[in-house]
């Protein structure tokens, strides 16, 4: 199994642990990831507010680069996953935009056809690799560990392709395969406010606080997430939350880190040392 890999800026920066754990887990599963040659920033949500056409062109360049190989693209970052998919759809639906973007890409020597499939690691793990194969590699099940699964916004919304929009369950399936328990967590798709924490701290903090507090109340020892921005936001703001509201101290980890632990990969290899809130509870018993 081989895929193209679009890490995005976050996985090279604050979300480094996501990349480390993702590569480790996929490597253990024998899935090859080939990084897209000279990819650029997808534009994320911010650039859409500046220039729609350029925003599509930015993502378009990545898609055009990906089309040179006949492989599906894996985009682990929620924002990248959404933007790349949104671009495919937007260009297919708006002929005028399509014309402009294709022409501009041509000027840069790039050819966009709109043929590539952009997928999320959750989708690939459950639907391509399969839970059976994953279960077979679980050496050190996460028995007795309870997590709150947190999907955030941009994975199942607005295009629910591999899971339900209101109540996604893919992560639960994976964590169950890893031997862990999942608490009922009705906030699993509620926005964490990550894109606002830097600009409107009072707003972002409250959203993050609500999410963490509720997960704790429901008996989770950590929040398991799929998004580098959510992880950064929920992990990095706990200091300020302690000042403004109360001490919460809940580790925020990536689902790939939990899978990796259960597969017997070391904590440092999985970037589990990179959390600002230490992940001791998660590491208990190993």
């Amino acid at each position: 199994m081989r895929y193209l890999y679009f890490p995005g800026c976050s996985l090279k920066g604050t979300g480094r642990a996501y990349e480390e754990s993702l590569l480790a887990v996929f490597g253990a599963l024998g899935v090859e990831l080939q990084e897209i040659d000279d990819w650029n920033c997808c534009g994320a949500t911010a650039y859409m507010s500046v220039d729609e056409t350029k925003s599509y062109a930015l993502a378009g360049r990545n898609l055009a680069l990906a089309e040179r190989e006949d492989l599906d693209v894996i985009a682990p970052c929620s924002a990248c996953y959404l933007v790349l998919n949104k671009t495919q759809k937007g260009l297919a639906e708006h002929p005028e935009l399509h014309r402009k973007v294709v022409k501009a890409l041509k000027a840069g020597g790039l050819d966009y056809k709109g043929t590539v499939r952009v997928r999320h690691p959750l989708d690939v793990l459950v639907n391509d690799v399969g839970l059976d194969k994953i279960a077979a590699l679980i050496k050190n099940p996460m028995k007795g560990h309870r997590f709150a699964t947190y999907y955030g916004c941009q994975i199942v919304r607005p295009y629910a392709t591999f899971d339900d929009q209101d109540d996604p369950m893919t992560m639960e399936k994976l964590l169950k395969a890893a031997g862990a328990e999942c608490v009922s967590y009705p906030l699993k798709t509620r926005c964490c406010g990550g894109s606002l924490t830097g600009t409107l701290p009072e707003v972002g903090l409250r959203l993050a606080y609500i999410l963490i507090k509720e997960a704790k109340k429901r008996g989770a020892e950590a929040i398991v997430t799929v998004c580098p921005l959510c992880q950064f936001n929920l992990d990095g703001t706990q200091g300020q939350i302690a000042k403004k509201y109360e001490r919460v101290d809940l580790p925020i980890v990536y689902f790939t880190q939990i899978l990796g632990l259960a597969m017997g990969i070391s904590a440092s290899e999985l970037g589990l040392t990179r959390g600002i809130i230490p992940a001791q509870a998660v590491l208990a018993g190993r």
Binding site: K12, R190, G236
Partner: protein, 197 residues
Amino acid sequence: MALEQTIKYEAERDRDFARWVMDQSGGDNLRHCIQCGICSATCPLSLYMDYTPRRLINLAREGFKQEVLSSFTIWLCASCYACRVECPKKIQVTDIMYALKRRAIQDGVYPRRFPIPVLAREFGRMIFLFGRVSETLLVIDLFLRTSWFKFLSMTGLGMDLLRTGRMSFLPERIQRRAELRQVLDALDAEEKKEASR
């Protein structure tokens, strides 16, 4: 207490603005809104908004341009798409918010206390220069431009990030920056051509 006139006259409506909104990608369903308010109810940020998303949709549809473009609402939208998914009329609220943000930046009417437009612009500048975004630089740059005090309170987090190896002061950059430049320049040229027409 000062008395304020709240009646609106038809002359205050900007019909071209309403048409413009409906012409933007995602704006085509706007007319179908039945004002049920599920967008506001599902929005995690509506509690901070001066107009709830539902009210904003109606203001835009009716052409109250001034109210729409200077509202906090559009800048509070975090693009979580919850409203879009719940809307019974499939109105693409998030995309409408994007369009309104662009228009507000273009018209220079966004509320000054919101640094979000600055972030958006800096984000664009960084992509234009390097092709990738290094979050650290972006955050520092942003805070230097908007507020020194906030930057100072954030330094605690900065230290944490340095400690855990998640912060880098070197900008990430792509190899073929010229190629990206050509693409973006081509779009600028096209836009100029259109504007001159």
